[in-house]
């Protein structure tokens, strides 16, 4: 290591954790204070903006301490500012003494940012939407999410006492707004079959009927068709395309 790099590392080690690491020799403390403040505040702002509920649950002091630990301990690997909150998610995975639901709550809070900025490519759609015979196409920016807690209902006043499976579809609509729809387990499975396996609406519904051993497949198809139509109405499904995926093989 070159001599100036040794100095640089002392410099940053001190900024990251002033309590544990001395400032480089012979530098003015009042000037180091500027860096101690501005560098942390920049990261603190970026993380706090993304996780308001996490912040309010922990309280201002504990939150600041957590972000301080993040800054001190986590070597962020991305130069992209938007991805700083994702780095924070990685960090809290390894952090002890946080509430059980905390990691999933933080993930849920991050999802809004992630879907808002998710890059997309234009989708080829059939001229006429046919959600049963063709593959329904979800809004290009979306996430199908499964949580163990009712993450969308958590607040300082409503902390989860027990686990409760929660399924969400988060998508960006044509106006670039991020929308959240809570799904029942059936609809979640239906959308997974369509989205991940490229099945037509009808094929996915037949498989679902088999899964739950429902005696009346036609009733399930009719019920499913209504759900898909409703999702289209909400802008979560933007059309359909002929399914080319040979999922049977």
């Amino acid at each position: 290591m070159l001599a100036f790099q040794k100095y640089q590392l002392e410099f940053t080690a001190h900024i990251r954790n002033p309590a544990a690491n001395k400032k480089p020799a012979k530098v003015k403390d009042s000037r180091m204070a500027v860096y101690r403040e501005i560098v942390f505040n920049n990261i603190f702002g970026s993380v706090s903006t993304c996780f308001p509920v996490c912040k309010s649950i922990l309280g201002a002091l504990a939150w600041k301490k957590l972000v301080r630990e993040f800054f001190a301990q986590h070597q962020a690997t991305t130069p992209i500012f938007r991805e700083i909150p994702q780095q924070f998610l990685q960090f809290i995975k390894t952090t002890k003494n946080l509430p059980d639901y905390f990691e999933q709550l933080a993930h849920y809070e991050w999802v809004e940012l992630a879907v808002a900025s998710q890059p997309t490519a234009p989708k080829k759609l059939s001229k006429k939407m046919d959600l049963l015979n063709e593959t329904p196409v979800l809004a290009p920016a979306h996430m199908l999410l499964e949580y163990d807690y009712t993450v969308h209902k958590i607040s300082k006043k409503h902390l989860p006492k027990t686990q409760e499976k929660t399924f969400l579809l988060v998508f960006r609509n044509a106006e670039n707004q991020v929308k959240f729809i809570e799904l029942n387990p059936m609809t979640f499975e239906l959308l997974k079959l369509i989205d991940e396996n490229g099945m037509s609406g009808e094929q996915a519904l037949i498989i679902l009927a088999e899964h739950i051993k429902h005696p009346d497949t036609d009733a399930i198809i009719q019920f499913g068709a209504e759900i898909l139509a409703d999702l289209a109405k909400q802008g979560a499904i933007i059309g359909s395309q002929s399914h080319t995926t040979d999922y049977a093989s």
Partner: protein, 302 residues
Amino acid sequence: MSVIADIKGVGLGLKRELIPQIQRLFNDSSISNIKFVEIAPENWIGAGGKAAADLAWFVERYPIVCHGLCLSLGGPDPLNVAFLKQVKTFLSTNKIPLYTEHLSFCSDMQHGKAGYLYDLLPIPFTEEAVKYVANRIKQTQDILGQRIAVENASFYVAAPISTMDELTFIKAVLDEADCDLHLDINNIYVNSVNFGFDAHAFLRGIPHERIVYSHIAGHLQVEADLLVDTHGESIIDPVWTLLEDAYQLFGVFPTLLERDTNIPPLTELLPEINKIAEIQSANALKRGSVAQYPCASQAISI
């Protein structure tokens, strides 16, 4: 709108808050002095949705410059080549002719792992650092397949291990790397107060033939001898004087207003934008012609 010659006149740093206002006033004569805009690639690479739509709007209407923040030219960790390749694609996709970065570092190595700190930290001014930074600039130019410009950075701590002054360091790096200069007028002033030197004397030593464009901004006075480069205040008179001095010394070059914090409505930034344009006109007329640079088209402003 895809060559460096299109970067001229007055520019404005493109902050999210300002986007809808510029879009609303586009074609309105009140903002006609804004001739180009500047973005940080770290804010825009890989972004879809509203950001992508906004970027596309500007690509069609304004020449754009990329002014990076996180390349960490002076950083102790390896240059992020994967990121530079993303920058290269981003520049070509959006027809952006120019990429500039800071003479600073924003990453480190702790426990054997590289990590970003997302802020501009001062490089000690040593011979080793000159060679090291110049090599990384050359590597950057090789990967991008184009020249870059580096900006004189503001800072608050003088490294006791420095063996030369800032101006000597800047000149040595530019020579060694053979790259261009992104001259920050406000940073000269901020450093002159923070480290007690004569800003105008410093300016006279600048290798002006390498200037592609300049920055001007406001800062925060924390103490009599400490200015923090917040880009959150109005530009003060000594900084205006320094800009004027630079135009008189070197000829008029494109100049961009940076406002990154405490952002007022666009209409309140227009007086500063218009003032830059006025100083440019006045000095272009005074000289009768613009300075002759190796790439003269880069220096024409009005």
